[in-house]
Each structure stands twice: as structure tokens, then as C-alpha cells.
């Protein structure tokens, strides 16, 4: 199921990401994008050094949540989660404003900063990394994804780019190899 996370860690991290980019009726958020899946893969492959922070941080978060609200973070209501996260969110170079104090506060502040970065990547990065499932992040903001190029009509001011079918890098690659050359239009000239 998970490459890195224990189930309770995944639940806590998913709940955090879902407050960073919440889901609304008809408008998917980090949960539908699978940001936690992106984070799991990142920790298993690209960023193993962050594993300890996630492991300790998720445990601290659940402890803090338990001591304040009597339940683990993932089981809190959205409003309670927001209050708790707001106490962890620190200005990029600032101190944790509230939270539990001491070492735990430091870890939780770092955890929030890291989950924020990872959630943005897991919602707005290419789906091949495990997040942005069905390109929900790109559709949310009107970004067409990996396009070989844009033509003069598409580059007119005010053009509605939602009319361009959203494309992942994998799809671009497939279409290019089906076209039998480097890509639609001209490929690189010369060799090597």
C-alpha cells in the first residue's frame, strides 16, 4: 500500500495536505490529487533524508492533537484541524507562533513547512510522480500541463486555455513516439 508511511502517518499527512488545498463539492483538492501518494514516493525515492522528520513529526502531531482535542489529527473536524495547523504555520524565517513549545514545536513547524512544499508539488507537479491524479491540480488553475508548444492563436491575450486538452508528460511522450519522431512539429536537428 505505502512505500514509506505507516498507515497512521499517511492518515495524518493526508489530513494536513487536505487542509492546505481543501476539497470542495465539484472542486477536488489535495486529497483527490493524491498528494500523500506523491509524498510517500518522494520519501521512498527522492528525499529519504526527510523520512525521520515525517515519522517523528506525524507522531508529535497526533500527540498534540490528542492532548488538545482528545483525538488524533486525522479524526479532528476541519475547523479544529485548521486551528491546530495555524498554530504550526510559521513565517518562512520566523518562529512558531504558538504550538506546544520547545523541541516539539520546532519539529512541527518544520513538518508543516515541508508538508506545504510537498503538497504544492503533489497537486501541481506531473502525475508521474504519484500526485496530481487525473490532473486535478492543473485543471483547477487552468494549466494545460506538458505541451509540445503553443500556436499564435493560443497565445492571444484573453485566450481560454481550458479549451486545450490537459496533457501529462507521459501522454506527450506517447503521442510523440506514435508520431514517429521527436515530437509534433520539428524535432531537434542534428544528432547526439
Amino acid at each position: 500500500m505505502w512505500k514509506f508511511f505507516r498507515p497512521e502517518e499517511a492518515a495524518a499527512v493526508e489530513a494536513m495536505s487536505a487542509r492546505i488545498i481543501p476539497s470542495d463539492p465539484g472542486s477536488p483538492g489535495a486529497r483527490e490529487a493524491g498528494a500523500v501518494r506523491y509524498i510517500d514516493e518522494a520519501l521512498a525515492e527522492a528525499s529519504p533524508d526527510l523520512g525521520r522528520l515525517y515519522r517523528d513529526g506525524a507522531a508529535h502531531l497526533d500527540e498534540l492533537s490528542h492532548s488538545r482535542c482528545g483525538r488524533v489529527f486525522a479524526d479532528l473536524g476541519p475547523a479544529e484541524q485548521d486551528v491546530l495547523l495555524a498554530s504550526l504555520d510559521q513565517a518562512p524565517d520566523g518562529e512558531v507562533r504558538d504550538a506546544a513549545g520547545g523541541e516539539q514545536a520546532g519539529i512541527l513547524g518544520r513538518l508543516f513547512a515541508v508538508v506545504w512544499e510537498h503538497t504544492i508539488q503533489g497537486v501541481f507537479g506531473d502525475p508521474m510522480y504519484g500526485g496530481n491524479q487525473d490532473c486535478v491540480g492543473w485543471k483547477l488553475i487552468g494549466f494545460p500541463g506538458a505541451q509540445w508548444g503553443y500556436d499564435a492563436g493560443q497565445m492571444r491575450p484573453g485566450f481560454d486555455a481550458a479549451t486545450i486538452p490537459v496533457q501529462t508528460l507521459g501522454q506527450l511522450r506517447q503521442r510523440s513516439s506514435a508520431a514517429g519522431d521527436g515530437g509534433p512539429g520539428a524535432g531537434p536537428r542534428g544528432g547526439a
Binding site: 487542509r19 492546505i20 488545498i21 481543501p22 470542495d24 472542486s27 527522492a46 528525499s47 533524508d49 526527510l50 485548521d82 504555520d89 518544520r110 513547512a113 515541508v114 506545504w116 512544499e117 510537498h118 504544492i120 508539488q121 501541481f124 507537479g125 506531473d126 510522480y129 491540480g137 492543473w138 483547477l140 488553475i141 487552468g142 494549466f143 494545460p144 500541463g145 506538458a146 505541451q147 509540445w148 508548444g149 503553443y150 500556436d151 499564435a152 493560443q154 497565445m155 491575450p157 484573453g158 485566450f159 481560454d160 486555455a161 508528460l169 506527450l172 511522450r173 510523440s176 521527436g182 515530437g183 512539429g185 520539428a186 524535432g187 531537434p188 536537428r189 542534428g190 544528432g191 547526439a192
Partner: protein
């Protein structure tokens, strides 16, 4: 193993690629060493990947492998570049030294391709004439260049036509051309390619600037608008600055020069070769070669009577210092960089900022360099005002929100969903002035994994930087208002970063061996047979991007070497 060559070129970026090509084409046996990997076309045909190139910075030297430290002044301990040290442990790629591997900085660059104005070569004289000698602070080390625009014009022309630049000339042999820069210096001919198609919001920028009395024109771009020599026409995919080009539209020394040099059969290229020392010998201490590390730490030596250090301005200085080539103490001094004063606006209509190259856009030169009008604020030297309508991917955009805008939760989601496709940017390039206070040396405590000392930068933003940033911030605000922006904001002034990928001055050129490191050909005053080339040669920084001047100087150096 010891290897012998006629010439060794260290670093194959904007200058090293050109010099390696010129020497190899003239029949010299050239050994080229680059600390980065050799990139192939296949590797980036599908480079449309913000995680790989932006979030994980896979093209740039990471601080974990290539440490650089900084301190604002001598009284503060240095640390790894704090503005580039992300919470995820990898480094933010836009304010680090540029990309590595054959191609160097021209792999990741945006492709802004400028000739200096003649005034840029005489900054000190012009400031002193106009404002008096007291206008510059007491710690200033500003000097004029040892050459003028007319000396470099043939080399600028050569760079444009041999490498490929698209644009609209403004002044051909004194005859003014509509659509070009009305303030342009005279050039012998136009550009080899017409201008790029401009990104959507640039029309609105132009119209606003014209209503304010400015004279916007399309900036020259080292990006092919049509197929040209080894370049193919741009596809406007929008993954440009910070990325490799999937169709080789963006001029990179990897394709314009390195490939041609390899085709001569006279170039041997060793990638992932980390040079750490310039060797000298004999009574005169002339250059005899270099030593370098293979990735596994094995030390190799290579010998030649001619060595060209063509790394980034910071790395060139580090190599001179670790090699003990610094008799007059000038190496690493006069560090200069740009501050940008990034201004971001939300426009009332879709701007689709994810399309087109960064440089498919217009520039206003009315307030650049000595053209800046007399002003009460105390701005001595101006800057370009550059429209940034394209080349903005979503993850980067999410890191630049207006002050006070929640960065998570329902409000963040709604803001980003509404406004990402309406974003637009404007920036300046305020050249910092050289000062005794701002320099690079070797960090006494920090070393890389091969045991080599890190470079330490001592730099703070000076009074003039802040003055000029504020002056131009007001102008950008007026432009944004005139454009009908519904929201706009600027980065912190002065900015948190002290690297812009436009660092220069660290091995200054000059005629006096007592006060400069190299002569105007890039030849070391101290060590016979050694050339040290690139932006490090610049006596002052211009408001323009430095690369085409670095290329012109490289052609000048190559000619000088070959004429012997």
C-alpha cells in the same frame, strides 16, 4: 594517469564553449573538462517537468555537493546560502550558481542576449562627470573598462550571427529602424532572425508603457524564431528559463559550440571532471596544467602550456585562490550582482503565463544606465524595465503570493485557481557597484566532499541598491496601474538573495597588473599561459544580462590566443 594537450579549457559554458570550438577548429588539440554531466538531446526532449528541474533543481550545482557560503559583512559568521536552502533539503535553483555540464549557464538560462551600451564601459567616468566624485561612496572600487563599445562591436556581431539571436535592430550604422531600441548603439547589421512571437500580456505592457511616454521594444533573444544553423524554431512551450530546450531553439554552447568542436576531431571532452588546482612550473611559474577529481575521488593530472579557466565568475575565483594565484590580492574582490525588484501583477484578463519563453517580451530602456533622468532620490545609474509575461509554471507561481494572502486553505485555493492564469511580472536589473566591502574568498571552515574549500561571499545590499530599487518600484507600480492590474506586489526590498546568476567582477580585467587580475584578453597578469575568462572579467556590471558580452569577450580571447 597524465594527459597532454595543446590547450586545456575548464568549463564549457558561454565562454568556454566558444574558446574550445575556436581553438579546436584552428587545429589545436584541446582537452575540455567540465564538472557536470554531459546532457543528451534524449534527456530533455521531454523536459516539461517542473518537479525535476524547479523543485529538485537537477541542472544546478546543489549546495550539498558544491557548497557556497555567504555573510552580509565581516562581523557575521558565514553559512550556506540561506535564501537557496529550501526546507526540503535541496536548493532553490534560481538563486544559485548556474547549471553545470557542457553548456554551463547556457543550459538553464532565459536567453536574454544584450550588447552593452557604450556608457556601460565608462560607468565611473560618466557618474563622476555628472554627479561629482563624491557621489560614489568612499568604499567604491568602480573603474572604467579597458575597452569601449566600438572595440567589442565586431565580436557582438559575431556572437549574434555565429550563435543565433532573434530580434529587431534599432540602429544599423546610424540609421534608426522602427520597432527596435531607439537608444541602441550603432550596429553593423541587424539580427540573423526576426523577433520571437510575444507572450500574451506583453501587448498590454507595451500599450501602458507607450501611454506613459516610454519606448518599449522587443528584447533580443538567444532563442531561434526560425530554424537557424544548429537551432530549430521555438515552439513556445513555456518550460524555458531553468529548463533545457526540447527542440534546441534556445542557444546553448552545448549545441552551438561544443558539438561543433567535437566535430573537428580535435576536442577531447571529459565530463564530471572537477578541476581543483592550476599547476605551475619552472622559474617563471608559468602554467603547466591542471589537476582534477573524477567522481570517485581519483585525482587526474593533465598538462598543457595553455590553460583557459572558463568557469562561472565564482568558481574561477575559487580555482585561482585554491591554486595560490593571487599575488596582488585582487582575486575575488569587486563582487557584483543584480537585484531584480520582482513585481508581480494580476491582470483582468487571461495572460496564460505558462506559454512562451521568458524573453518573448518587451523592454523599456528609457531609464537604463546613464539615460536615467536627474532625480531627487539619488539614482546614479539606471536599469532596464523588463516585461515577464510568460514561462511561469504553477509550483514556482505558488511560491510568489501577495503579502497577506493566505498560502493555504480555502482562500489560497480560490486565489490560485482564479489568478494563476492572470499573472504577469515586471523586473529590473539594478547593477550593484563594486566596493571594498563586497568580495569572495575561501571559507575557512566549509569544505566540499573532496576536501576543497567552499567559496565565501561577503555581500550586503548598499544604499544605492535600495535607492534604485525603490525608484524603479514606483515606476513599475505606475506601469501596473496603467495596465489595469487588479493586484500587484513586489518582492522584499532589498531582496533576501545575493546571487542572481549574474555575478561578475571577481577576476577583474585591466591594463595595470597591480590592480587587476587579467588583461583585456583575459590573460593572467601573474601566470604566463593562463587565461581566466567570463563575467569575472567585468570591471562593472551593466543593467543588461551579461551573457552576450561574455560571448563577445570569449571570441576576443580566442582571437588573441590564436594570433599568439
Amino acid at each position: 594517469m597524465t594527459e597532454r594537450a595543446d590547450a586545456i579549457v575548464v568549463g564549457l559554458g558561454a565562454s568556454g564553449g566558444i574558446i574550445a570550438h575556436q581553438l579546436a577548429a584552428a587545429g589545436l588539440r584541446v582537452l575540455a573538462l567540465d564538472k557536470g554531466p554531459m546532457h543528451s538531446d534524449d534527456e530533455f526532449r521531454f523536459k516539461h517537468d517542473e518537479i525535476r528541474y524547479y523543485s529538485r533543481g537537477s541542472l544546478v550545482p546543489q549546495l550539498s555537493t558544491d557548497p557556497v557560503t555567504w555573510r552580509p559583512d565581516e562581523g557575521t559568521p558565514s553559512r550556506l546560502l540561506p535564501w537557496a536552502t529550501g526546507v526540503l533539503g535541496n536548493s532553490e535553483p534560481l538563486h544559485l550558481p548556474p547549471s553545470v555540464g557542457p553548456g554551463g549557464g547556457t543550459l538553464h538560462w532565459g536567453g536574454a542576449s544584450w550588447r552593452h551600451r557604450d556608457s556601460d564601459f565608462r560607468m565611473r567616468s560618466l557618474i563622476v562627470e555628472r554627479f561629482g566624485a563624491d557621489a560614489l561612496p568612499g568604499d567604491s572600487t568602480m573603474v572604467d573598462w579597458p575597452l569601449r563599445y566600438r572595440d567589442l562591436e565586431p565580436y557582438y556581431d559575431r556572437a549574434e550571427w555565429e550563435l543565433g539571436v532573434s530580434g529587431q535592430a534599432g540602429n544599423v550604422g546610424g540609421e534608426m529602424h522602427p520597432g527596435g531600441n531607439p537608444f541602441e548603439e550603432s550596429r553593423r547589421r541587424g539580427y540573423p532572425m526576426p523577433p520571437l512571437r510575444r507572450a500574451a500580456a506583453d501587448d498590454r505592457f507595451r500599450a501602458a508603457c507607450e501611454r506613459l511616454g516610454f519606448h518599449p521594444f522587443q528584447q533580443p533573444a538567444a532563442i531561434a524564431s526560425t530554424d537557424y544553423k544548429s537551432l530549430s524554431a521555438c515552439q513556445y512551450c513555456g518550460f524555458c528559463h531553468g529548463y533545457l530546450c526540447h527542440v534546441n531553439a534556445k542557444q546553448s554552447s552545448r549545441i552551438t559550440s561544443v558539438r561543433a568542436a567535437l566535430d573537428t576531431g580535435n576536442l577531447r571532452l571529459v565530463p564530471s571532471a572537477r578541476v581543483f588546482k592550476v599547476s605551475r612550473g619552472g622559474a617563471s611559474g608559468r602554467v603547466t596544467g591542471v589537476s582534477y577529481f573524477r567522481p570517485d575521488g581519483t585525482v587526474e593530472e593533465a598538462h598543457a602550456d595553455l590553460v583557459i579557466l572558463a568557469c562561472y565568475a565564482l568558481e574561477n575565483a575559487r580555482l585561482l585562490l585554491t591554486s595560490g594565484i593571487n599575488r596582488n590580492g585582487e582575486v575575488g574582490r569587486h563582487f557584483m550582482t543584480h537585484s531584480f525588484g520582482w513585481c508581480t501583477a494580476v491582470l483582468p484578463e487571461y495572460s496564460n503565463p505558462f506559454m512562451a519563453p521568458l524573453v518573448a517580451a518587451s523592454v523599456v530602456d528609457d531609464l537604463n544606465a546613464e539615460l536615467v533622468p536627474d532625480n531627487d532620490e539619488g539614482v546614479l545609474w539606471g536599469s532596464v524595465i523588463t516585461s515577464i509575461p510568460g514561462d511561469l509554471q504553477p509550483i514556482e507561481a505558488a511560491h510568489n503570493l501577495p503579502p497577506g494572502q493566505p498560502r493555504w486553505g480555502r482562500e489560497f485555493k480560490a486565489w490560485f485557481a482564479r489568478n494563476y492564469r492572470r499573472l504577469f511580472g515586471i523586473h529590473n536589473q539594478i547593477p550593484s557597484f563594486p566596493s571594498r566591502r563586497y568580495y569572495c574568498d575561501l571559507d575557512p571552515d566549509v569544505r566540499d566532499k573532496f576536501g576543497q574549500p567552499a567559496l565565501r561571499i561577503t555581500h550586503g545590499w548598499a544604499g544605492h541598491d535600495v535607492t534604485a530599487l525603490r525608484y524603479f518600484q514606483n515606476i513599475k507600480r505606475r506601469i501596473c496601474e496603467e495596465m489595469g492590474a487588479v493586484e500587484f506586489w513586489t518582492e522584499r526590498l532589498p531582496p533576501p538573495y545575493h546571487l542572481s546568476t549574474h555575478e561578475v567582477g571577481t577576476h577583474r580585467m585591466g591594463e595595470d597588473p597591480g590592480t587587476s587580475v587579467v588583461d583585456l584578453y583575459g590573460q593572467s597578469h601573474e601566470c604566463e599561459g593562463l587565461y581566466v575568462v567570463g563575467g569575472g572579467q567585468f570591471p562593472t556590471l551593466s543593467g543588461y544580462n551579461p551573457t552576450q558580452t561574455i560571448q563577445a569577450l570569449a571570441y576576443l580571447s580566442a582571437d588573441h590566443i590564436l594570433k599568439g
